[in-house]
């Protein structure tokens, strides 16, 4: 009877670790995706800003 109880406890705790560990992994993946997506959005905006500035500087120097 004791052996059965310990075996059930092992399975239960092992299962809990996998369950909560899995949830944590999913949360981290979602967070990573959000952070990377937002960062890439900002990077694209900054690249466009730089390109627009370089274009306008070129046009100005051509006009001169």
């Amino acid at each position: 009877m004791d052996k059965l109880i310990y075996a059930l406890l092992d399975v239960g705790i092992g299962g809990a670790v996998i369950f909560f560990g899995g949830i944590a992994a999913v949360i981290f993946i979602i967070l990573a995706v959000v952070i990377i997506t937002v960062s890439v959005k900002h990077i694209r905006r900054e690249i466009k800003r730089k390109e627009d500035l370089e274009k306008s500087e070129e046009e100005e120097s051509l006009e001169e």
Partner: protein, 336 residues
């Protein structure tokens, strides 16, 4: 007279890493040690770009104080016997660390006059803090001693607060304009990620004593700082060639030979300035975002180390192959 923000933030960085690595090592070894390190690295490295962008767009908040307060709050949270709060403390610690790093990036770039050395010096301060913090944590030094680096960090950070909020940045131009901005950023990201991974792959079985750890991190810091100086003096392309290829034989054959290994680590650390300068050349209006690209790459590079370890032979192959690939990529994307 030019502001000496790089000196202030060298000290800030050392203090910040002292606090962080003290808390990381205080409870080491623990079953959760690997998880804790991953959680901390995730929040300390990955969101830096977003945090930097936020600081650039919202200048009024006292970020320096916020960063230091977050780290001090983490000291209490980490002491909690409740696991969730304990791990949450490392989340707070990581975010506090990230805020301070971004303030450092902005302060040093703003007053750099287009040189990368100030930022390189700022980054090199981390090694000092890592050694002090780890030593304090392993030796279970009283947590009250952390007030010292916290106060020093606050004072030095506040000395440079105007630069963080200036909003006008010098121009960096180390890249080959034949390649698009996206390609340049991807190359800088990849090279930084490789550098991060190789940092774990370098065989250093000689590193057993405290003085050897001090030497290792000291040389790493020296490499980062001098890398910045050499980039400004000789050009990024020349430094890239030397730092990627010269390191290879020293890293491979230095497993049991300390002197050989530290020479490799020195060369290898010099690439930090190059990749940051590349990002600054592309993201010229947002040095915070540029710094965040490199720190995100550092995190991505060390993720494999949490899950898989290879033997010496395979690591040696990685060092050779990755170093050559990085060298080729940098030589193509850097200005002649």
């Amino acid at each position: 007279m030019r502001n000496k923000n790089e000196v202030y933030y060298f000290i800030v960085h050392a203090c910040v890493e002292t606090i962080c690595f003290y808390l990381l090592r205080l409870h080491y070894p623990l079953m959760l040690a690997g998880t804790i390190a991953f959680v901390y690295d995730f929040f300390a490295f990955l969101p830096q770009g977003i945090i930097g962008k936020f600081i650039e767009n919202h200048k009024k908040l006292p970020y320096e104080t916020i960063g230091n307060v977050l780290m001090m709050a983490a000291v209490f949270l980490v002491a909690s016997p409740v696991h969730a709060v304990h791990v949450g403390g490392y989340v707070v610690l990581g975010i506090g660390n990230a805020v301070m790093h971004e303030c450092g990036a902005l302060a040093t770039v703003t007053e750099s006059e287009g040189k990368i050395f100030p930022s390189a010096l700022f980054v090199s301060g981390g090694g000092v803090g890592i050694v002090i913090g780890q030593t304090m944590g392993i030796n279970q030094v009283s947590v009250w001693f952390l007030l010292i680096p916290a106060v020093i960090s606050e004072v030095c950070a506040l000395a440079a607060r105007k630069s963080v909020r200036k909003g006008v940045y010098p121009v960096f131009d180390v890249v080959n304009h034949k390649y698009s901005a996206g390609i340049i950023l991807i190359v800088a990201f990849l090279v930084t990620a490789v550098r991060s991974y190789l940092g774990y792959a370098i065989p250093i079985s000689w590193n057993k004593e405290l003085w050897q750890t001090i030497l290792l991190f000291g040389i790493m810091g020296l490499g980062k700082a001098l890398g910045g100086y050499f980039v400004d003096r000789f050009g990024a392309r020349r430094v890239a060639l030397v730092s990627t290829l010269a390191a290879v034989p020293f890293l491979i054959f230095g497993d049991k030979l300390m002197v050989v290994s530290v020479i490799g680590v020195f060369f290898f650390s010099m690439t930090m300035s190059i990749t940051f300068a590349m990002c600054l050349s592309v993201l010229r209006f947002s040095p915070g975002l540029a710094f965040g690209v490199t720190t995100a790459a550092l995190f991505i590079g060390l993720v494999p180390a949490f899950f898989v370890r290879f033997n010496l032979y395979i690591n040696a192959i990685f060092i050779v192959v990755f170093s050559i690939v990085c060298c080729v990529l940098l030589l193509k994307t850097l200005k002649k």
